[in-house]
Assembly symmetry: C2
Homo-oligomer: 359 residues x 2
């Protein structure tokens, strides 16, 4: 696989059992005044991301959230408030607290509305980082529903034909349950790669491929700078006009509309770093046709895709979610690999806050 | 712009007024037994596509639809049947007739349900080509709603890492109204380019850029063959694993799930050429927050994007829909440019069917 250089190996990581990491995250968040329920929800989502090898959105982030809470950037305890509501829709405020708390509630509300009326849709303003966006459609999958979630952020991506960042990496996640096969779970930034991949490349000290980021002069960046700014941008999915950059860009604007403009929280250029607006949707499959028929066709589709002949040099064709479900099985068994720096950082932060050590 | 080689020029086209083309399409479709209402809906959507310079999905296609009707591939007159329905959802059958008819009804139903309950969502099975997918969100825009439409097709795109086609070009369209600015209207194949662009390149006798299509051996295709088959594929948006091919591929599967699996009409590999399943959604903005506030923020967002400095060699940054709205203004004034072959073909077909000539 082309991105193996970004993977953890047994040489560059230590393994920690998932339940211990969950407890450590809860302890750190509790240590800065987060109510238990909010700390538990956040830890659940962060641990799931780490289990699924979405390491850029995993447990290690608890440290920076705890600092954002301490500095007052995050309001904790937060009040999640419903601003408007209809049969199938709601607009809620995250209360400038932990994004996870409101996003989780948004998907729970979407699911409850879908159970009653067929579909449910919630948009969230005044929010922060919600972690792995794929977690929220996964909640719908567990209820035998289709789920979708998107989240917007401050500028990192340039518009197609543009020379400065105006949009977040604005990821889109979509999930669907299957029968005997694993669920379909797509979770994608609308840039060529998630910004976490740039950070990871930096941490591992490796250059990034051409096409991921450019200077204001349109030159490829091999070692992106630490700080965002108008002098460099990530590329939209597609990279060039000829190869469809207007599509990654267009999808990113769609995300800004659903999460930022519909909620009133603001579009990309109006957000400061760390602000994120979110939109979730759940669809009750059984309102359309029998669930078992749907799942059986999902199985057939997934098998057909798996059976596609692979391109020269590749072993097999994957379906969205495959790498994550496989990682989860392995990590539940062997523990979650952490970069030693990140591991030490979590321990020191726990000690600094005077909370119990679980790792 | 990089794709200028695919544009009509005054040298390679004739100009025809839109109302005449509309009448000609209606006459041709009526000539093979299409009920007036169905011919009118189809002509309206085809003419709008031609006005918006989506020429691959424009009026010229009426000829092939008329042949599909004549051959019995399309059932005309068709019966559009509601298979299941809830407050916010419906599953309808297109009755194997003109795809436009059922897709138009699907969006009308989505809008009606959204007016009542906040959102509306309809999936369509047993269908055929629905033309420019962006037309359907445009219907929602006209009702001050957000709209989304997607449509699936028989295999043309390879999965990421795959060597044979398993998915249609599976386009996604999304639209949102603005205030003083033109509406946002994204309409994108989940391949690097729509297959119509390959056909257009062939008609104009120009090679296609690397990245658009490959052989089963993974070699770039410069002159794609006429017929589809397992020996060549279009690339998913992103092209390579490193540049995000799994994202274009994942979006295409999402389209297959919403349009094909949710409807029961079948996923890509189960469809034969000419079969298309469709999904539409409408969202009532005013259920979330005041419409005027939403539109005013849309205006601000669109202006911010337009004001982004352009990359070296480009004049300006566009927003999805800009080229189409600009083309429409010009073509309403000067007429719709048609390739002489296509123009002659429409006239001959009308004469062959013994219907009135309007162009």
């Amino acid at each position: 696989m082309a991105l193996d250089f970004l993977k953890f190996t047994d040489e560059n990581s230590v393994r920690v059992p998932a339940p211990d990491l969950h407890r450590q995250v809860v302890a750190i968040l509790r240590g800065v005044g987060t109510p238990e329920e909010h700390a538990e929800v956040t830890a659940k989502i962060l641990t799931k991301a780490s289990l699924m090898a979405v390491d850029s959105h995993g447990v290690g982030n608890a440290v920076r959230y705890s600092r954002s809470i301490e500095s007052g950037e995050y309001t904790v305890p937060q009040t999640v408030e419903t601003i408007s509501e209809s049969d199938t829709t709601a607009l809620i405020s995250c209360g400038n607290g932990l994004g996870f708390v409101a996003a989780h509630q948004a998907m729970e509300t979407s699911i409850a509305k879908a159970k009653k009326h067929g579909t449910g849709m919630v948009t969230v303003r005044d929010g922060h980082h919600i972690g792995m966006v794929g977690y929220y459609p996964f909640m719908a999958i567990e209820e035998d529903m289709l789920g979708m979630a998107i989240t917007s952020a401050s500028p990192a991506m340039r518009p197609a034909l543009g020379a400065a960042p105006r949009l977040g990496t604005n990821p889109i996640a979509f999930g669907a349950p299957a029968g005997e096969e694993k669920p379909f779970l797509l979770d994608m930034a609308t840039t060529t790669v998630a910004s976490g991949k740039l950070g990871l490349a930096k941490r591992l000290g490796v250059p990034i491929p051409e096409g991921w980021a450019v200077t204001a002069e349109g030159q490829p960046l091999v070692h992106p700078p630490d700080a965002r700014g108008d002098h460099w941008s990530q590329n939209p999915l597609g990279n060039t006009r000829e190869q469809g950059a207007h599509k990654g860009y267009g999808l990113a604007v769609m995300v800004d509309i659903l999460a930022g403009v519909l909620s009133g929280g603001g579009f990309g250029s109006q957000l400061s770093g760390g602000e994120n607006m979110t939109w979730t949707m759940a669809i009750d499959i059984s309102k359309f046709r029998p669930l078992e028929d749907f799942k059986s066709m999902m199985d057939d589709m997934i098998r057909t895709l798996h059976n596609t002949p692979a391109e020269p040099g590749e072993d097999r064709v994957l379906v969205a979610g495959d790498p994550e479900w496989e990682a989860e099985a392995e990590r539940l068994d062997k523990g979650i690999p952490m970069h030693p720096t990140q591991y030490d950082e979590m321990r020191s932060r726990a000690q600094e806050l005077g909370v119990e050590l679980f790792i």
